[in-house]
């Protein structure tokens, strides 16, 4: 194990030289700008604690059965605001390369296990239902 470590120590200077030669100084994750005015928590808190918020929300929803508008830290809502869209206006998976989740998670080698179960794009069907409700509200039954 320590023999391997010795080799890894040699990597240090190589990496330094490599990154200086690469020349683009400090690269930071790049991701699409979200819609909406502000996040559910201040950005610096979200950066540190988002995984705990989501996990806590999971417990509230799945174990306690508390659903609906009280769900402040819903993963679905994260995706609704933070999804990026391609030229055709089609939502891209949020864990695709260069998208909101993936860009930072890949930057620091943190794996995401949300999307083994959860969808990675805004829920179109749900959005349709909202639009339908709004459409019906705007045009009361029997109108036109």
């Amino acid at each position: 194990m320590r023999a391997i470590l010795g080799q890894l120590f040699l990597l240090g200077p190589m990496l330094i030289v490599g990154s200086v030669v690469a020349g683009d100084r400090v690269s930071l994750p790049k991701y699409p700008q979200p819609v909406g005015e502000k996040c559910v928590e201040p950005a610096d808190i979200m950066r540190r604690e988002h995984m705990n918020f989501i996990l806590h929300q999971r417990d509230e929803t799945v174990y306690k059965g508390i659903r609906g508008i009280t769900a402040k830290h819903s993963l679905k809502d994260c995706i609704d605001c933070h999804a990026g869209y391609d030229e055709q206006g089609k939502a891209m998976p949020i864990n695709a390369k260069g998208q909101f989740c993936e860009s930072c998670h890949n930057y620091v080698a943190v794996s995401i296990d949300c999307f083994g179960c959860h969808r990675t794009t805004p829920d179109e069907i749900n959005k349709m239902r909202q639009l339908t409700v709004k459409f019906n509200q705007d045009r009361p039954y029997g109108g036109e």
């Binding site: 194990m1 320590r2 023999a3 391997i4 470590l5 890894l8 990597l11 240090g12 990496l15 330094i16 490599g18 990154s19 200086v20 690469a22 100084r25 400090v26 690269s27 930071l28 994750p29 610096d44 950066r47 540190r48 604690e49 995984m51 705990n52 930072c104 890949n106 930057y107 620091v108 080698a109 943190v110 794996s111």
Partner: protein, 252 residues
Amino acid sequence: MSYLFATLFYVSLGIFAAGLALKLRQYWSVPAPLKIPTTPAPITRSGVVFRMFREVVFFESLFRATKWTWIFGWMFHLGLALAFVRHLRYVVSSDFFIWPLINNWLVQFAGQYASLIMLVGLLGLLGRRIFVDRVRYISAPSDYLMLILIIMITVSGIMMSFIAPIDVVGLKAFMVGLMVFDWQELPSSIFLIIHLGLVAVLAIIFPFSKLLHAPGVFFSPTRNQVDNPREQRHVADWARSLDLDSADQSSG
């Protein structure tokens, strides 16, 4: 604070590298006049390489000497190795070719929980110095200080990993900034300040401390010599010019 830590890191890394280089030069040049491999010893060069491998990876002679020390010591070093690999994510760019190895779920997972293995090992080693009479008798203050220093580094790391998360993206930006001389802001976290501050202290005292056993083990004559005193006469390099016999032998 960011500038303070950037400076601290450059200074401590400089002392670490220069001090270690001087020490290695000393180890390299100090004479080993006698043939003293601890027997049973390998009789070929490749056998010595294999013995050294077992020594470095499994701590073979410690295993034969003291089982408790071996268990705790080996736990600590195993955890340290795993945690070290996990920490590479802060200094390796995500388009570098070894990134897929670092950005591996198992590697990151093992590296995170390795911190707990490390802590158990360290507490075991500390307990050994406190509770075993004969070890307490020979323990110097530096023995305790070194353990406490590494325990504090481990605990502050565990705090960040499991309890009070920090902005790891910001931290990577800071570390990469150090390497390319484009300084970035250090994310604010008391545990991060403790962690990095103590790591700098560790790097500074490393070349003057017992931690030099890391490179030193490779220079140990009882471990790195081939057991062939009859087949090949052993003469230290510095003694060669004084020795008529060896002059004959080296020519023939």
